[in-house]
Structure formats: structure tokens, C-alpha cells
């Protein structure tokens, strides 16, 4: 388990240690979705992508 800060409200978000890059984690305080970047055992988060015009199948 790793702790990262919410990009928006800075609350602590717990992320499982076996998380894969691209998984989405949500901040329990403000609801913001984050995408996980897991590189060489280092876990960071960024704002999750927003829906775009050409999103879909």
C-alpha cells in the first residue's frame, strides 16, 4: 500500500502496491478521479482524463 496526495484537495489517497499504470483511483474527500502512474515501484497520480469528443468504441 502506498499513499499519494489528491491533486485537487491534497487529501491522502491509499493505493494498493500491486496497482498497474492506468488504473483509476478516486479521492474519497473530493471525488476527483486520478490515473495512476506506476514506474519502477514508484507510484504517482495525475488527473484522470476527461471525456473527449471522439471517445468511445
Amino acid at each position: 500500500m502506498a499513499d499519494v496526495s489528491c491533486v485537487v484537495c491534497k487529501s491522502e489517497i491509499s493505493v494498493e502496491s500491486d496497482v498497474i499504470s492506468g488504473e483509476i483511483v478516486e479521492c474519497s474527500s473530493c471525488g476527483q478521479e486520478h490515473e495512476v502512474h506506476a514506474v519502477n515501484n514508484s507510484i504517482s497520480v495525475a488527473l484522470a482524463p476527461e471525456i473527449e469528443e471522439t471517445w468511445g468504441e
Binding site: G22, E23, E35, H37, P49, T54, W55, G56, E57
Partner: protein, 296 residues
């Protein structure tokens, strides 16, 4: 002998249930899977791409899917799906033209380059027809036009947002009396692996995103023939084929083909493990690549 790499590049916007299951199945089979998000670089310099045997394109953004697959294919990686297939499948007008050329059954259509041209559609299709933007998913932007007043409303709304008609051309299709469902067929490689009906009693659009219910459906010979024709034209790959049954003419018509089919909800109902089929297909691609290089 050149060393063959069995690493797989997984291009995704985010790791949804579908992609995570494909990822885990490939990892369990002993492959190294590198996730590449839309927000990440594609470091194509200095032979970076050479380490991957194949790239699975599961970007949610159709523009990004096309852009990333083009760069990867140009750098020498086989992408699933191919650039050609993604290019055709992400544009409903391209699809209609290709299907017409190859005699794949589809609703009658025309391409309208101006709003005035749409007005002529009543002569071609009668009082009811469908307007589709070239690129859209999940049923967005698709309008059923019933009568002149309805079309006047559509044109007025479009004019207020797009006075110079930059979003033209659009695809006009005849409205097919298809009952309250369409049929989704999932193709992996060249084989239709499962079909199901998407039933919507309240909405003429039958996208599961809009609430349509999934019901298992048996693949018949006519559907198999359409799938075979499609993969002949588009090349093998992973497709979500949407069919209508035309009750008037008693035959199946291709509504459209999707290049990045979703299946997280439907596979739990029809029971066919689509992710497992995709993982096996990718492994087969890698194995055949290894054989080709050994024999070269």
C-alpha cells in the same frame, strides 16, 4: 538469427475492467506487458519500438488510437487493430464507402456535404431517415429525422453551433425497421466469437451505453458470411460488428463496425470470455511472428 521479442505494448486511455483483464491474462501467460497511457510519451527514437512484438490499441479517443497506431506501425510494430482498419472504422462515411465497394450489405446511404443536400433525402429515403456525424460513439450525435419539420429543427440547431458547416459532410442512412434491438458480434482475428442482441424498448438507439439490455444470440451462417467478408476487407483484428435485421427484406445489414469493442458488462451475461480470446489471439500473433523469423 534476430532475437524475437514477446513484449506487448498496451496503449490505453485508462485501464478499465476490459484492459486490466487482458493485461493480467497476458502477464499470467508469461508476457511482459507495458502499459502506455494517452498521457505518456511514445519514445519512438533509437529503436525503442523494436522491443515490442505487437501493440494492442485500446485508446478511448479515436483520434489518439489513429495517431498512436500510425506512429507505431510506421516504426515497425504490428498494431492490433491495423491503421487501415482503425482509419475505416472510426469514420462512418469511410465505412459506408468501403462496404459499398465490397458489396457488404448495409442500409442505403448518401453523403451530404451541405444542409441543403440533406433536404433532398426525403426523395431518396422517404419521410424518415437517419443523420450520423462521421465520427461518434455510444450513439452521440445520431438523429432520426421524421418529416420536414424535424429536419428544419436539426438544421437550425446545427446552424447555431456550426454556421459555416465545418462539421460536414454527414452520413445519411435509410431508417431500417429493425425492431427494438440490434445485434453486436465480437470478432477476434477472423472469427466471430460471440453475438448478442442489444434490446432497447424505450429508445430507438440500442447502445448499451444508453441502457440497452444484453441477450445472448446464436451466430448463424449469414452472420458468419458477413464477418468473413468484413475481415477480408479490413484485415484480421478485433471488431465489434453491429447488425440490423431488416424485417422488410429479411436479411442482415451492417450498421457499423467498431474498432475497440467494449465488453465489460456484456461478457458476464453471455459468458464468453472476450478478454481471454483477445489474449490468446495476441499470443498467436507473437508465436506466428517467431515462426516467420526462425524460418527467414
Amino acid at each position: 538469427m534476430k532475437q524475437t521479442n514477446t513484449d506487448i505494448l498496451l496503449c490505453v486511455t485508462k485501464l478499465r475492467e476490459e484492459e486490466k483483464r487482458i493485461y493480467e491474462l497476458l502477464q499470467q501467460a508469461g508476457h511482459h506487458v507495458q502499459v502506455n497511457l494517452d498521457s505518456m510519451e511514445l519514445p519512438l527514437e533509437q529503436g525503442w519500438a523494436d522491443q515490442y512484438g505487437v501493440a494492442l490499441i485500446r485508446c478511448l479517443s479515436q483520434k489518439k488510437a489513429l495517431s498512436r497506431s500510425t506512429m507505431l506501425e510506421l516504426s515497425g510494430i504490428e498494431t492490433i487493430n491495423s491503421v487501415k482498419a482503425i482509419n475505416i472504422c472510426t469514420n462512418k462515411i469511410h465505412q459506408a464507402i468501403v462496404f459499398q465497394k465490397h458489396n457488404i450489405p448495409q442500409p442505403r446511404f448518401k453523403v451530404a456535404f451541405t444542409a441543403d443536400k440533406i433536404l433532398e433525402s426525403f426523395e431518396d429515403f422517404g419521410n424518415i431517415f437517419v443523420i450520423k456525424p462521421p465520427s461518434s460513439s455510444w450513439g452521440r450525435g445520431i438523429a432520426r429525422i421524421v418529416g420536414k419539420e424535424c429536419l428544419d429543427g436539426w438544421i437550425a440547431a446545427r446552424e447555431s453551433l456550426d454556421p459555416t458547416q465545418q462539421s460536414f459532410p454527414v452520413l445519411i442512412q435509410e431508417y431500417v425497421d429493425k425492431g427494438d434491438y440490434d445485434i453486436r458480434v465480437v470478432i477476434v482475428g477472423r472469427k466471430p466469437i460471440v453475438a448478442f442482441r442489444r434490446v432497447s424498448v424505450d429508445n430507438w438507439k440500442t447502445n448499451t451505453h444508453l441502457g440497452a439490455e444484453v441477450e445472448p444470440f446464436a451466430i448463424n451462417q449469414e452472420i458468419e458470411w458477413i464477418c468473413s467478408k468484413l475481415t477480408e476487407v479490413l484485415g484480421e483484428g478485433i471488431y465489434g460488428l453491429d447488425l440490423f435485421y431488416d424485417y422488410q427484406n429479411k436479411r442482415y445489414l451492417v450498421c457499423e463496425v467498431n474498432q475497440n469493442p467494449e465488453f465489460s458488462k456484456s461478457w458476464k451475461i453471455h459468458g464468453v470470455d472476450v478478454a481471454a480470446h483477445i489474449a490468446l489471439y495476441l499470443q498467436g500473433k507473437l508465436a506466428s511472428r517467431t515462426r516467420q523469423e526462425v524460418n527467414a
